[in-house]
Subunit: 679 residues, 2 copies
């Protein structure tokens, strides 16, 4: 039976590959079938139709690529083949199609560019061109900088198809990245995330900034050296180096995490890596945009300047906190009460997530960061308000969107290695960049781990550190940031190098994860939910103390006040607020919370009790906040309470809400094999 | 409790309305905050950023509109307020925002258009403009036809914002329509659809063509009259009239069907209306494109010509059958075997549906038609191959996409009434069009019903006919077809008139459905699934004979051969093929079918038995195929067999597949209130 399936799978792949090639060839062939007709109108109409067909065929190539990837992934999953992740695969297929498009098909550009000389001062957004009595409206697409040979070069070499297959880089930022980032935030495994929050924040914020600066400095050294040797054909400023450092500091260990999830690697390691990669995407975006904003600051631009750096830092903080609060705000705002109408609920949820992105962009903040925190907030609060059906729906929807967007980006990456027309591959720069990326990652992980271990009771062992070092893959975010602007020589060189870094890390580091795990003797097959109750040894007990003291206060506030106000779960406010606030509490508590109250006493009464006690916390002062320098002095007395806290974090958001209805959906039970490649 | 909810809902609406207005105002305010900076580079960058912000804000308006619509729908549903459907509501909100954008905010166009005179012959796709040493690349956007005053007019009157809020019409065709159409095909209630297939095909094909020609002729009369009176300011050819007839013949009774579904109106009436509206969309698309293709046929174009008509008809048949077979082919091809990985399955399903559309467009067929038949085929075959989880996922996904796309289109319709810049409202033409639409619908329904009743055992009663007449709303498809080309005077007049027709029918006819139902004394509250087993009277029994003889043969072929080959359900081929074909049968049968075999005997043995007998059908010769003229002579003997057939059609595709796993998902039970607005 399995054999038959395999045969079918392979047959399928063949059919699809040939279809893919067919489409490519068809696209090349079709433009030649021009018909001779006298009327100009018909020609225009025909051309529009032709172009429409071409566009469809172009999109079709990508869709077939994705389909191909999906089928191959299925084959791989079927055979438990772990060397190549779906993203790596998507890149390979993209690469192949790129080669076909580049070298297989030669097609001249149909209408050669017309160069008009024009004596207007500013460049208008739209231009009307009077071609023999008829007006054609043209819209500004891009600026081609200076040197005349570039323009000739472009209109000659570049063929129409390669041009068409190239997307507007903003597509990545505005359409493909948001679902990926949102999904990442939405699926943060909250228990382990919160338990390691201090360390994660340290790696993501401090670590990324360190890494960006180290890489920037090393690259500046490389570039200076290149200038001396004469290998540099254009300008490359210090800010460019810093920008490069910022964009390649965003890690994206999709591949590694997928394998971790499959092999059930230690949950803390997983949380550290996942949390770091999710947050450092946000950091890198804001960092790079602050650097860009800093760039043309004064007249003597492109040099290092203390004041401007401070300004940049202020901007970084401003944009980040703005985006953060916007994301959290909209995340909270979406507490839907449309429980009876699942479709409306899901639609609203989807729209609110997207509008967060747009709102942030419209306000001049960073949409990606807003969407990330919107996702985290929604997972924490709004998700609880959804009906169980909608919870499933939204999860599945974002999972699908994430899957499609991710694979699309990676296959586009493969494609673009051959179809992008301004590649600048400079061996020296590439070697320097690989070295810098390696050293930057090392400067992030090892020193910070050392510092964090001072504060952590459950130390980050050296094999974990090596694994984190190894798992610093670069992915979608790095690519999207680097393709956003490829106007100057420096940016083109950066883009080409970034592409190579992504390829290398995804294929080599991603592919070698299993080997690395066994080499570092990291335990696999740990069921993160079971070890909660089974292995109750001293080591296990101590991990619970990791949660920062600050966090515990916040947690109690959140559990007792925010959750009851914002969601239908948690204890009703009337139980948590002092009696004097009775009327206010009654006003703010949702009817469902009251309905829950009876059942609450049933199976969660201990939670409420300990939560009340928790307010008096203070003996637990393990402090591992972002700076990571405070030492610890933990009291062991509160073992039972943190047990509850832990349990709450683990189950709270799934079980507590369902109290009223308690539906154990068969869906949830049957899909562990591929519930989410990110877990 | 309900009161509190209401209060919350109302508060929400207020917040959102104010937010919407805020965004509008912000958009108006922001462009003024230009900063003075010496460097041109910064100016360009700033402008790009500004434009990016603007785009985000524009999109945000639409998203807030949708959100507003959703919240209001929820309020309406909550209060069981049936006068206004969500689509009508979306239009009203769109209208309001359109008014605000048009009259509330005055903003001059920022960069005035530069008119360049250029001595090239053809209009190139891209133009490089040399502005003082720098090259700017411009892409062709549209052709502004001739008369010089138009150009001035445009650059003066039209403000930037209205311009930005206008979408490329192709967006509707390539992005928004496909999910709507696919969902329609995917959710055809198959039992009632197949039972009334003959009538549905007659109404959809014959009826739409009749209606198109009647409307076309009447409009030609109107236009000729207008020419005589001097009310016509531009050219209006006969082919334009025919085109108008084609586009307004596509009915889209979303509103009516939603109410039907809610009130549980007679399932046959529902099937007739739904089936007709789904198929006539496809007919209208192909018809209109054939007319456009016919238009510039000879030198003496725009006149009626027998030969060209025939050619057009041939083209119609060609495109339709091409799209049909492509859709069916890809629908069949997607028989996935990835049951273990739901995410991959859903993704593949989604991609294949979309690639059908693109493939058809790339081949020069009609994507909409292909997608429709792909949906029907997938619902029939592929759906059975999906795991139960994926069945749920795909259904929900397409439901959501359909919901969003539909509401977006309708709110855009409202918006465009005020923001479209070339409206031509001609009272005479509008009155003529309303009359023509009314008469065209009448000429479709009444004569065809008369003819069909000759062949139908279960007559289409006159109150059903009146209801169908009344329910001929025009919607998304009509709008998308009419906005696609608004270059000429005739097309602009058509577009404006179409908009009014859509508004009128959706608000008046859609809103009056409940009244009309009670006025025509049509039974409501009929549970279509229950009446299957309960009301087994003579009238009921006779409806089963409605299925066409041809269809029965096809059904048996499908059940015995196609389903076993293409899906995992149905009897294994080894049971249905003659013994001599044993090896072939074994090769083609999927392993699951064998697994099913044991259980098949359990609860479906009677089905298989009667199916074997069914092959000998022949005494049932009720013939209601598309031409609808053959008379009937039905044998009553086969009551039991058609009973089974009926049951199979009703339950087969849901129950038979689940035999192996038989999961009764709680999801399905709990969502009748809004499972699907189309049912």
């Amino acid at each position: 039976q399995r054999c038959a399936r395999r045969a079918i799978g392979t047959r399928w792949l063949l059919v699809l590959v040939s279809l893919c090639v067919c489409v490519c060839v068809c696209r090349a062939a079709s433009p030649q079938e021009e018909e001779d007709s006298a009327m100009e109108n018909i020609v225009t109409e025909k051309r529009a139709e032709e172009s429409h067909r071409q566009d469809s065929a172009d999109l079709l190539i990508f869709i077939l690529l994705l389909t191909l990837t999906i089928l191959t992934i299925w084959l791989f999953k079927h055979r438990r083949f772990r060397f190549l992740h779906e993203t790596g695969l998507a890149m390979i297929y993209g690469l192949l199609v790129g080669v076909v498009l580049r070298y297989g098909i030669h097609m001249p550009r149909d209408g050669t560019n017309v160069i008009l000389n024009c004596n207007v001062n500013a460049s208008p957004a739209t231009v009307l061109i009077n071609v023999s009595g008829k007006f054609y409206e043209y819209t500004l697409k891009r600026v081609i900088t200076s040197n005349g040979n570039k323009v000739d070069d472009m209109s000659d070499n570049e063929n129409e198809m390669l041009h068409k297959v190239t997307f507007d880089p903003e597509v990545f930022f505005n359409i493909l990245l948001p679902p990926i980032i949102f999904h990442a935030g939405y699926s943060l495994k909250r228990r382990h995330f919160f338990r390691n929050m201090g360390s994660i924040l340290a790696y993501a914020f401090l670590g990324t900034v360190i890494s960006a600066f180290i890489i920037g400095l090393l690259m500046y050294g490389t570039v200076t050296l290149m200038k001396h040797v004469g290998h540099l054909a254009g300008e490359f400023f210090f800010t460019d180096c810093l920008f490069f450092g910022a964009i390649v500091s965003a890690t994206d260990p999709v591949t590694v995490l997928a394998i971790f999830h499959e092999l059930q690697v230690d949950a803390d390691l997983y949380a550290l890596l996942f949390g770091e990669s999710v947050l450092n995407d946000a950091v890198a975006v804001v960092l790079s945009s602050s650097i860009v904003a800093y760039q043309p600051a004064g007249d003597n631009s492109h040099t290092f300047e203390g004041m401007a750096l401070l300004k940049s830092f202020g901007m970084f903080l401003g944009v980040f906190s703005g985006s953060f609060s916007l994301g959290v705000a909209t995340g909270i705002v979406t507490f839907t009460k449309l429980r009876d109408f699942q479709l409306l609920e899901t639609a609203l949820f989807f729209l609110m997530s997207w509008s967060t992105f747009l709102l942030a962009e419209a306000c001049g903040f960073t949409g990606v960061v807003a969407v990330l925190f919107c996702g985290i907030t929604q997972a924490h609060y709004t998700f609880n308000n959804l009906s169980p059906e909608s919870q499933d729906r939204t999860k599945q929807l974002f999972e699908l969107l994430n899957f499609l967007a991710e694979n699309f980006i990676f296959s586009y990456m493969g494609l673009t290695l051959f179809t992008f027309h301004n590649h600048v591959f400079n061996p020296m720069f590439i070697v320097g960049a690989f070295l810098a990326v390696f050293l930057g990652r090392a400067a992030n992980i090892y020193p910070l781990s050392l510092l964090l271990n001072l504060g952590r009771r459950h130390k980050i062992r050296s094999n974990f550190q090596h694994m984190m070092m190894f798992a610093g893959l670069r992915g979608a975010m790095t690519f999207a940031l680097s393709i956003r602007d490829t106007a100057t020589y420096a940016r083109q060189m950066m883009f080409s190098t970034t592409l190579l870094i992504v390829f290398f890390t995804v294929w080599i580091c991603g592919g070698g994860t299993t080997q690395m795990l066994s080499c570092q003797r990291i335990r696999v097959g740990v069921d993160s939910d079971q070890d909660n109750s089974v292995t109750e040894g001293p080591e296990r007990r101590s991990t619970k103390q990791e949660s920062a003291w600050l966090f515990r206060i916040w947690y109690n506030f959140d559990h007792n006040y925010l959750k009851p106000i914002l969601t239908h779960s948690g204890p009703p406010l009337t139980a948590t607020l002092p009696p004097c606030c009775g009327p206010l509490a009654r006003f703010l508590t949702s009817p469902q919370a009251y309905e829950n109250e009876g059942q609450l006493k049933d199976d969660d009464s201990d939670l409420i009790l300990t939560d009340d006690i928790n307010l008096a916390y203070g003996d637990i002062t393990v402090n591992t906040d972002a700076s990571g320098v405070h030492t610890s002095s933990a009291g062991f007395a509160s073992g039972m309470m943190s047990d509850d806290l832990d349990r709450e974090l683990a189950y709270g958001d799934n079980e507590v809400v369902m109290r009223g209805t308690r539906l154990v959906l068969p869906m949830d039970d049957s899909e562990p094999p591929l519930k989410d490649p990110h877990f």
